[in-house]
């Protein structure tokens, strides 16, 4: 075992990348849940985003177009969920699970031709002299544009929920859809838009895995990140900053255990592989002492009958 083989700079840079898919997926789900909808189909929307993004990037040669296609793909799939739960008033839990199963199967079908291909690479953002700062440069200023977009999105969602009228209305709908309806807000429309935002974010997160993190296409390659994102939203008490913290924690430990595996630490690989899940959940359970933070209408079906 040789711990000195772990380069701290590459390690930190690596965990920022590992955390990004989780940030996108969880942030989208956070917005969906704040509007009072529980969409368990994150994993399915991510994998659809992964294959849509991969295919579009390979066909057009442009990774950015790939990410755009991933967002559209995730949002279109989420529309199916929105139709089931908001129009036909189907059960949200069952619809979400169905969405995940459907997404996993459908992505495998779409991806048949793309196994074993390398996607075009997304260049790093050119920060000029900033990139040459020792340590900080490679850690902070050597990434692709999508990673920074994820961070910007955390800030935007936080500020949007807290300071804008649209954010207030979204929270109000999640808190009490009956009261919001009585005041004349369009509950179904607002929730559908939130679900689509969640789908687009999940799609971006999925494409980040298939285009940047791995980068290749394999069936089921999201490997449960969607489920971690769902857990993360709850344990982050529906707060964007805590969610970012949880995502970094998860990304950090994932990266660490990969490095430890590489360094040949004498712990069975299975324990190392499970450690990110266990530690992230433990830490966030301790952090999330305020259990009343859940939106009061979360998971409840709305119908404007009364």
């Amino acid at each position: 075992m040789d711990l000195s083989a772990i380069n701290p700079v590459l390690f930190v840079a690596g965990f920022l990348v590992a955390a990004t898919p989780l940030i996108f997926a969880a942030l989208g789900e956070l917005v969906v849940e704040r509007s009072g909808v529980l969409n368990l189909g994150v994993e399915g929307m991510m994998i659809i985003g992964a294959i849509c993004g991969f295919a579009a990037a390979v066909e057009t040669g442009s990774p950015l177009l790939g990410f755009f296609a991933a967002a559209v793909g995730g949002a279109v799939l989420s529309l199916l969920f929105a139709f089931l739960t908001q129009i036909t008033l189907a059960n949200q839990v069952a619809s979400g699970l169905a969405l995940t199963l459907f997404g996993l199967g459908f992505s495998a079908l779409l991806g048949q031709r793309y196994v074993g291909i390398k996607p075009p690479r997304l260049p790093e953002v050119n920060f000029g002299p900033l990139h040459d700062i020792p340590v900080l440069g490679p850690v902070l200023f050597s990434h692709d544009i999508i990673l920074y977009l994820g961070l910007a999105l955390v800030v935007a969602v936080w500020a949007g929920l807290k300071f804008t009228r649209a954010g207030l209305v979204l929270r109000a709908v999640g808190e009490s859809h009956d009261a919001a309806h009585a005041l004349g807000y369009k509950v179904v429309r607002i929730r559908t838009l939130a679900i689509m935002f969640g789908g687009a974010c999940a799609g971006l997160g999925g494409a980040y895995i298939s285009l940047i993190r791995v980068p290749q296409w394999t069936e089921g390659m999201t490997a449960g990140v969607g489920w971690i994102a769902l857990a993360l939203v709850v344990f982050a008490s529906w707060k964007p900053w805590r969610l970012l913290l949880g995502a970094y924690l998860f990304g950090g430990i994932t990266q660490l255990q990969l490095n430890l595996q590489g360094a040949g630490v004498a712990i069975p690989v299975e324990y190392l592989a499970m450690s990110p899940y266990v530690i992230t959940i433990l830490v966030l359970v301790v952090l999330s002492a305020d259990k009343n933070a859940a939106p009061a209408s979360l998971g409840r079906t709305f119908h404007a009958s009364n």
Partner: protein
């Protein structure tokens, strides 16, 4: 009254599948007029105001505001036209602050800081103190209502609709509300006031329109009409007043000693050292504003939330730690407030619902096997004795009207020969004739030697049937006093007076 009314409705009709909620309703409200809308549940009051507020579109008929056509497509249009509404079930968001709640109900909400300032100004001008930063979930019912009223007032309404505004207030809080409303009326704001509390309407309103089964059946000037006359116009028949014979109470059946219990829900109210005795043949009325421990008290008495040993003694036996079935077997029966969901399972038939609470005491269950024949006889007996209007006991509970289901729920317990019966809001949302029948049944039960505890927010009801009256306030029970001769002021003070309210600076 001026010649052009502020709001004129003519021939408004709205039908839902199977029922005509409003049938050719016409109404005129002048600026500054306080107009009462009276009617039993299901008479169409809510549908009518929802049409005025733009939540429901009429099938036919015309609405005019200041002489020009008024057709609100949604509440936004209504608010823009100067119509404000204070809802019966508050349309507030518990987890948001007062200022955020108010911003949600406004078209062009200013920045939160400026809005907070305006809230303070308006609340002081009308004597309704309110702190904009507080979380609504922590407010009392009276304070929550202030949030709704101020939300309306900030938009300078010309017409304020109030749907049963006083059902959650103490008498002192009602007095403050009325001062505010009179001040508004003097400033030219018309008020459409929905209530079934007739004395309040006589006290406050200039004119009244009475609805029955969706039609206007009469107009009156409340100040010149007795409450009984108005009630009979609402019901369409003469009313029987419950009667009771003088009686001497027997020995103590239920002895509650320093009963304390935590509330199971986050926004609930813990019970604090409740001590009271109920004798055989006695009716104890428990008043108080909703949310002061009523639900928790009922849960503690029914056994849904068992309490510590020694806190509840029944006939010399400690029943504190016993669950509901064990208590039922002994003869302590309860009928909770919420008909659909708590007292009865909405999608189960009356027979199944009769089985659910009657199994232990009516021997409908033998060695784990259910005797459906006996349950059917029991359910049919309830339907017959309590005049429950339903095609048969095989109908699901949801299909019954509120009053009929309530008669079933109360009858189901009364016919199990309880030794102690605890009921919460026995006539809430029940029409006047069914309410009278339920009250009579409770009195008859006491007459036959049972101890009856009635928890209610309807003070008139409690005064009518109670021997002793006590009030719940913040989880504490006042010392019970003989109900006869209590004044409204005394009752109000027992209920905790005005919760931090001051009188309007009129």
């Amino acid at each position: 009254m001026t010649d052009t009314p502020l709001l004129a409705l003519s021939g408004l009709t709205k039908a839902y599948p199977g029922v005509v909620a409003n049938d050719g309703v016409s109404l005129r409200i002048a600026p500054g007029e306080v107009h009462a809308l009276l009617g039993e549940n299901g008479a169409g009051k809510s549908t009518l105001v929802k049409m005025i507020y733009g939540l429901v579109k009429p099938d036919s008929g015309k609405m005019e505001m200041n002489g020009s056509a008024y057709t609100p497509q949604e509440p936004r249009d209504a608010r823009a036209a100067g119509v404000g509404m204070v809802f019966q079930h508050f349309s507030l968001f518990d987890a948001l602050s007062v200022a955020e709640n108010i911003a949600l109900g406004m078209e062009h909400a200013p920045k939160l800081r400026r809005l907070s300032h305006q809230i303070r100004e308006v609340s002081e001008a009308y004597g309704l103190p309110l702190s904009p930063d507080r979380i609504v979930g922590d407010l009392s019912a009276g304070e929550r209502q202030r949030v709704e009223i101020i939300r309306c007032l900030l938009q300078d309404p010309k017409l304020l609709i109030m749907d049963e505004p006083t059902s959650v207030l103490t008498p002192q809080e009602v007095e403050i509300l009325f001062k505010t409303l009179r001040k508004l009326s003097a400033e030219g704001t018309a008020i459409l006031y929905i209530s079934h509390k007739l004395e309040e309407i006589r006290n406050l309103c200039d004119s009244a329109t009475i609805l029955r089964l969706g039609r206007v059946v009469g107009h009156c000037t409340p100040a010149h009409t007795t409450a009984r006359e108005m009630a009979e116009m609402m019901v369409g028949s003469t009313l029987k007043t419950p009667t009771r014979a003088g009686k001497t109470p027997g020995k103590v059946v239920l002895d509650i000693q320093r009963l304390s219990a935590k509330s199971p829900s986050a926004f609930g109210m813990p019970l604090r050292e409740i001590t009271v005795q109920v004798r055989a043949g006695e009716v104890l009325g428990i008043g108080g504003v909703a949310g002061n421990g009523q639900d928790e008290l009922l849960a503690a008495l029914s056994g849904e939330a068992p309490c510590a040993a020694g806190m509840i003694v029944f006939d010399g036996q400690d029943v504190g730690p016993l669950g509901p079935t064990a208590r039922r077997r002994l003869g302590i029966l309860t009928a909770p407030e919420e008909r659909l969901g708590h007292a009865a399972v909405p999608d189960m038939t009356l027979v199944e619902n009769a089985m659910l609470t009657g199994a232990a005491r009516e021997k409908l269950e033998r060695r784990g096997m259910l005797d459906w024949q006996a349950a059917k006889r029991f359910a049919e007996n309830i339907v017959a004795k309590f005049d429950v209007r339903t095609p048969g006991a095989a109908n699901v509970a949801r299909s019954l009207s509120g009053g009929n289901l309530q008669k079933f729920v109360i009858g189901r317990e009364v016919l199990q020969r309880p030794r102690v019966l605890v009921v919460n809001q026995p006539t809430w949302g029940v029409d006047a004739s069914a309410a009278a029948a339920i009250r009579q049944a409770l009195l008859d039960l006491a007459e036959n030697g049972a101890a009856v505890i009635v928890v209610s927010q309807d003070l008139d009801e409690l005064m009518e049937i109670s021997d002793l009256f006590a009030a719940l306030n913040e989880g504490r029970l006042s010392v019970p006093r003989p109900a006869q001769g209590l004044t409204v002021e005394e009752i109000g003070l027992m209920m905790g007076g005005a919760h931090g309210m001051e009188v309007a600076h009129v």
